[in-house]
């Protein structure tokens, strides 16, 4: 089943986190009839294999990677026929070209950087648009260099270079939230210095506002860094009680009465007997 939606509702970092964690394979299409930053329409396809980005492009004719290679003058009259034949084979084109000595590993890295990193990272600037993910196992081998990158790592790179965070504003963690580390050991991703600093506070001891004060960094910046750590699956945001509401707690407690008019203010929960639970299940099953 395809997953569709609007980027303004389910952002690209969230999509990538979902695809990475679910180790999804298929094609993600981003479409915008008018990209606000360029004024032109936008269409991008991103192919994923088990949650890793393996290729990207703006066409579905299996010629995208070959075109990039040709633009760099790496397809000559001597090997043109051979390349054409390899495009139709069911092996990533880059791997075949490397094994035949037509391309070197460094050239493949450059192609992957141009084809995937540059294109995908620029998508994080897209303010509006629709996305669609179709799970399919048949990926276009002619578009694949053979290299890949976890979707969340792509997110990290894309968000580091994001200048305008307005579109993600509603997704950012709250200033009074704390962060908790949710992995064991050190992260496999290479964090930059600011991410490492914030990561150091991911023990729930102080909230983002206090982290900002401690590091003498604007709170907005800390929220952005925290968001990056959240969407790559390193930390979770744990909201704290809205400080502005605590002062009203005395009035509020009066509302929190149970059916017998008793104020619910104890931190202890009562034990439930086994006979109670069995009676309850029987009672509910009779009602259903």
């Amino acid at each position: 089943m395809a997953i569709t939606g609007s980027l303004s509702e389910f952002s690209l970092p969230e999509i990538f986190q979902f695809l990475d964690q679910g180790q999804k394979t298929g094609i993600l299409t981003i479409r915008d009839s008018k990209d606000l930053s360029t004024g032109k329409s936008l269409l991008r396809h991103i192919w994923l294999l088990n949650g890793r980005v393996v290729a990207a492009g703006d066409r579905l004719d299996n010629r995208g990677l070959a075109r990039l290679i040709e633009q760099r003058g790496w397809i000559t009259d001597r090997n043109r026929l051979q390349v054409e034949r390899l495009i139709t084979e069911n092996v990533p084109l880059g791997i075949n070209l490397k094994s035949l000595g037509i391309l070197q590993p460094d050239q493949l890295k450059l192609l992957f950087s141009v084809q995937v990193l540059r294109q995908v990272c620029s998508l994080f600037q897209v303010e509006t648009g629709q996305f669609r993910f179709d799970a399919k196992s048949d990926l276009p081998k002619a578009e694949m260099t053979g290299l890949s990158l976890p979707a969340t790592e792509t997110t990290l790179m894309g968000l580091r270079s994001l200048k305008d965070w307005q579109i993600l504003q509603s997704k950012l963690p709250e200033p009074n939230s704390t962060l908790f580390n949710i992995i064991s050991g050190q992260p496999s991703l290479r964090l930059d210095s600011s991410e490492t600093q914030v990561w150091g506070f991911a023990d729930g001891s102080i909230n983002l506002k206090k982290i900002a004060e401690h590091l003498q960094v604007p709170i907005q910046k800390i929220q952005q860094i925290a968001f990056r750590l959240i969407v790559v699956g390193l930390v979770e945001e744990v909201p704290d009680i809205d400080a502005g509401m605590v002062n009203n707690a005395v009035d509020g407690a009066a509302i929190a009465t149970d059916a017998n008019g008793q104020i619910v203010n104890s931190s202890e929960r009562t034990e439930i007997s086994n006979s109670f639970l069995q009676s309850l299940v029987g009672f509910l099953q009779n009602k259903a």
């Binding site: 009680i241 149970d258 009562t270 439930i272 259903a288």
Partner: protein, 177 residues
């Protein structure tokens, strides 16, 4: 009187108030007010304090069901409700993926404060753009198959599905204590 207290948490518009209203034997004590934050874009009225419903099934036995506030801030009322809760159900509207992150926040908030059994209740599965339960689980951060709460699909307006969800929650509670 022996009382079991369940909490119904969830994203805005997932059906928390309706869930309680559908199953309660008493008129639900609700505190719906005009929404004042971004919630107003989805619902004109939302629960600002809590909803309360009850099911009595013996001379000294009752199930109390509390609904959390609908607006996207965690205030003192949350703590008051969950301190005495025995279990909770998190309602998630399948057709509102932009709320999934808030649902994750609720789970993080609850799980860091209390260690009580919970299940996920997915609503609005029949709406356009609804995500599958498998994909919703992923979006909520449940990657490890072994470590997942039960998932139920329900319609908060339909009494039978609401009761089945409560049965699932109580049975899960029994299996955990």
């Amino acid at each position: 009187m022996e009382i079991m207290r369940l909490v119904v948490a969830g994203t805005v518009g997932a059906g928390k108030s309706t869930f309680i209203r559908t199953v309660s034997e008493i008129d639900v004590v609700d505190t719906d007010r005009r929404a004042t934050d971004e919630t107003a874009e989805i619902k004109h009225r939302t629960t600002v304090a809590m909803d309360f419903g009850r099911l009595t099934f013996g001379p000294n036995m009752a199930l109390h069901i509390y609904g959390t506030p609908g607006q996207q801030r965690f205030d003192f009322m949350w703590d008051i409700l969950i301190r005495k809760a025995h279990a909770f159900i998190l309602l998630v509207a399948a057709h509102r993926p932009h709320e999934f992150r808030y649902a994750r926040r609720i789970l993080s908030y609850m799980n860091r404060r209390v260690q009580i059994p919970y299940i996920i209740g997915i609503t609005h599965m029949d709406c356009e753009g609804a995500w599958s339960s498998e994909n919703i689980k992923l979006a909520l951060g449940f990657v490890d198959e072994k470590n997942q709460p039960p998932i139920v699909i329900l319609n908060a307006d339909e009494r039978d599905t609401v009761i089945q969800a409560i049965v699932a929650l109580v049975q899960y509670y029994i299996s955990k204590v």
